[in-house]
Amino acid sequence: MTKMVKELIANSPLIGLLALLLVIPGFIENQYVLQVMIFVGIYIVLVLSLNLLNGYVGLLAIGHAAFYGIGAYASAKLSIELGFPFLLSFILSGIIAGFFGFILGRPTLRLTGIYLALATLGFNVIVWLIMLNWMDFTHGPLGIMDIPQPELFGYKIESRTDYYYLMLAFVVLTLFSIHRLVSSRFGRALVAIREDELAAEASGIDTTRYKVQAFILAAFYAGLAGSFYAHFVKYVSPDSFTHMESFSILAMLALGGGGNLLGPVVGASILTVVPEAFRFLDEYRMFMYGGILVVMMLVRPMGIFGASSYSFRLKLFDEKEKSYDKGDKFIDLGDDTGGKTPEGSA
């Protein structure tokens, strides 16, 4: 078997899942279901980006909707007022949100734990208030309407199915790039900071620099998600980016479990679908939402997939670790030096 075939088989679970997601719109007639799936995608990206901070670096940032909102408003303004094409305003809104991530991150990253949480929450409220009150720029509570539909290489994204595929591409690219980030020296440094900041410094890791970089990246992805949201709903208003939105994102991360890539995907999916699935309960459906979180915190405080890494690779062909599996030979006996004492002891 050639190497390529082996790789294909090893990655078959992922390829299968992707194939399923690709054909699924063909079997869904209900536009509303597609719409929910698109929102699942947006939240997956948001939770993945928050996960960079809360899951990998171990910071407690709780104002993520601020960057989501900045991305959405930036994209709306860029495409309406400046007439930028979708792809350009999409990338630019990520960069703008990333810039605000830097502005917020640089001074506040000296803070830890609950203090950082408060600072990020405060930032969220400030951004919301600006959206609400800066009438000239944001149209205040009226929001910005008629955001143009995306056009990609001459193809106009119109139907729910079009948006679904755009979302799928967006989520896959996000997963792919974040996977590359966290599975590198860069990601190792982030986790080292989470595990022991002092030891990370003593290993030569510039902890402040890495934290700021993580903050910028998290804000960047959230900004992209905001841009996608703006072009999908075609309307942005301050209500969508309140601290309650931040708490939803945080709850998804808490439910799924941070520090890996599977947890955010699962958490975002469950907490987006559940309130929709129980819509027949009207207002009471939020009891389900809250109930799930309470039970989760009691049963698995780390989240469903807390803090370990998961691989979907089949390990059929992977070479075995340089075979040290020689039975019990290496059981630690503790004192195999036979109690000899150093020479010339005092």
Partner: protein
């Protein structure tokens, strides 16, 4: 010129002088021990050298460069490495990942490298892993079979070994060991003694805080004694063993107890 020169380091906590005008040198290729009763300021001196804590006065020269006031990661980049009195590992990472994190200063892949994965990134990672394996081999069969285990599943002694492995991986010019044998049994301690000799023979310079006198008297080329933040004695082991002031600092006055 000594590799590490500490000049008139002061550190006050409120009215208490944790370090008071401490001077000392660590010469290239030597094993220098730092001893003293609890609270003498040994770890404080290590913290002042590595920038974990800023001293109130004095200078630290390393390899001809003034490193006073630098941040810890900058000091480490100059070629220092340290371990901690209480083990500080990246607990949820594997043994291999811990040592790879220790090689942070020897690698350079950042965000762009991680995203684009040019060929040098793979090469760099491979080289880092090869270097880590070299380091594991210094610990005989203690760490080699466990490189893919999460470190918080390891025994206490093995965790200490991983911490030392992480420190020596980037080939530092000077290693600061803060009580490397704390909590180890005599045989494990002997293992560390052998390792310290091995590192010295490999050309490493070692500055070690220890409480186990037998170990200190055996391995040290020179011993520095701190008490209440003041250097009260310095010299070769035989001299320190006979030193009246040192005995008093440890045992109180009029003591005839033997140091062992």
């Amino acid at each position: 010129m000594a590799l590490l020169e500490i000049r008139a380091i002061d550190k006050n906590y409120g009215g208490l002088a944790a370090l008071d005008q401490v001077n000392c040198n660590v010469e290239q290729g030597k094993i220098i021990s730092l001893i003293g009763p609890n609270g003498a300021g040994k770890t404080t001196l290590f913290n002042a050298i590595t920038g974990t804590m800023q001293a109130d006065g004095g200078t630290v020269m390393f390899d001809g460069e003034d490193i006073t006031g630098l941040k810890t990661h900058e000091v480490i980049k100059k070629g220092l490495a340290r371990t901690f009195q209480h083990i500080r590992l990246f607990k949820k990472m594997t043994v291999m990942e811990n040592v790879l994190a220790g090689l942070h200063t020897k690698t350079r892949c950042g965000i762009v490298g991680a995203l684009m994965r040019p060929s040098w990134v793979a090469r760099e990672e491979e080289e880092a892993r090869a270097r880590a394996m070299e380091v594991f081999e210094l610990f005989d069969e203690r760490l080699l079979p466990r490189i893919n285990q999460q470190v918080d599943n390891l025994s206490y002694a093995n965790q200490r070994r991983v911490e030392i492995a992480r420190a020596i991986a980037p080939n530092p010019k000077l290693i600061l060991l803060d009580e490397p044998t704390a909590g180890m049994n005599p045989n494990e301690t002997q293992g560390i003694v052998d390792l310290i000799y091995r590192l010295r023979d490999m050309g490493f310079t070692i500055f070690v805080i220890e409480h186990k006198m037998r170990l200190v008297m055996t391995v040290s080329d020179r011993i520095i004694v701190l008490d209440h933040g003041v250097k009260i004695a310095e010299g070769p082991p035989e001299e320190i063993a006979e030193n009246e002031t040192v005995a008093q600092a440890y045992m109180g006055k009029r003591s005839h107890a033997q140091i062992d």
